[in-house]
Symmetry: C2
């Protein structure tokens, strides 16, 4: 393969979920596309690295510090929602159901991967609890997210805080027949009066 | 979403096969990765656009004109292999079975998409036939590739050239049970003595 093309395929292959075949297909698209398209993508790549950083309060991604969530005076100071990653915030915002503040852990506890309480933003979280009445644990519904939620719940309850976890259950629009038994079990256990 | 991030997601979404969800995942990877990685990808994108172009003889992608295939004196001038796109050459080269020259059509005939003989490199192909004895039609095994092969075969045979088509059949390592009936039909029709 000609050098510049091989180099582009190599760089694209470093992206998650992009194997050599997809990288080759993308590189050929770039070759065919107008140079303006390649330039716009190249500039956008550099811009996110140069202009964005983590909010010094909540660790979400932002171009100004504090971020737009932490700056928003309309939000409820009594509610704090804890997520693993910055990009977990936007799906929660889209629900329009939550009007409190956020805290990004920058990961989840994982003994296998050597990630303990010191590798997540636990210290900064504990320093933000003044005036907070409820902490909503919105870590991922997997083994690491569950372990992190349980660890935090123990710590926060000891400080007298109401600590809640996002509900588990059937996806809306889903089908009992195609819902796995673990989810269905959690859905049963969490059943509510109607 | 913050502007530079939304911009990167938008640019990534323009790539083929990359939807908004994949684009968001890739953008978050770039955010987390070292700036050197983003810069290397950005530079590789610009480099392929600035340094590569089509060979003036065969239309393959190259950084020098004529390309490394057209410059190679060891190849057999009597054999010309016709492909649809520049990236169809490399899989053929990897077989090590073909030692002739190539011609890239830069597309396939498609009345639905308004691509007729004037939109592919048919004229330059017809000007390259001196000394050629066999033209191998290596267009894709789909409706447009077949139509293109049939169209070219008629034209080339009228000029007294031997015109061949890549064989259709079962993939090596495949399974009759999982081979579709159209492929199996072609495989039967093209059966050979052993």
């Amino acid at each position: 393969m000609i050098d510049p093309l091989a180099r582009l395929v190599g760089e694209l292959s470093r992206l998650p979920g992009i194997g050599p075949k997809t990288a080759t297909r993308l590189a050929h698209h770039v070759l065919k596309a107008p140079i303006g398209e390649a330039r716009a993508l190249a500039e956008a790549l550099i811009e996110v690295k140069e202009k964005l950083f983590h909010c010094s309060t909540c660790y979400s991604i932002t171009a100004v510090d504090p971020c737009r969530y932490c700056r928003d005076p309309e939000r409820n100071r009594k509610l704090l929602c804890v997520v693993e990653e910055p990009f977990n915030i936007e799906p929660l915002e889209r629900t329009r159901e939550f009007k409190g503040y956020y805290h990004v852990l920058m990961g989840a506890l994982s003994p296998q991967r050597g990630i303990g309480p010191d590798q997540i933003t636990l210290g900064p979280l504990l320093e933000r609890l003044e005036g907070v009445e409820e902490v909503i644990l919105a870590t991922n519904p997997n083994v690491e997210g569950e372990a992190t939620a349980l660890f935090l719940a123990r710590l926060l309850k000891a400080r007298g805080l109401r600590t809640t976890r996002l509900a588990f259950g059937m996806p809306v629009g889903g089908d009992i027949e195609y819902t796995d038994e673990v989810t269905l079990g959690r859905s049963l256990a969490g059943r509510q009066e109607i």
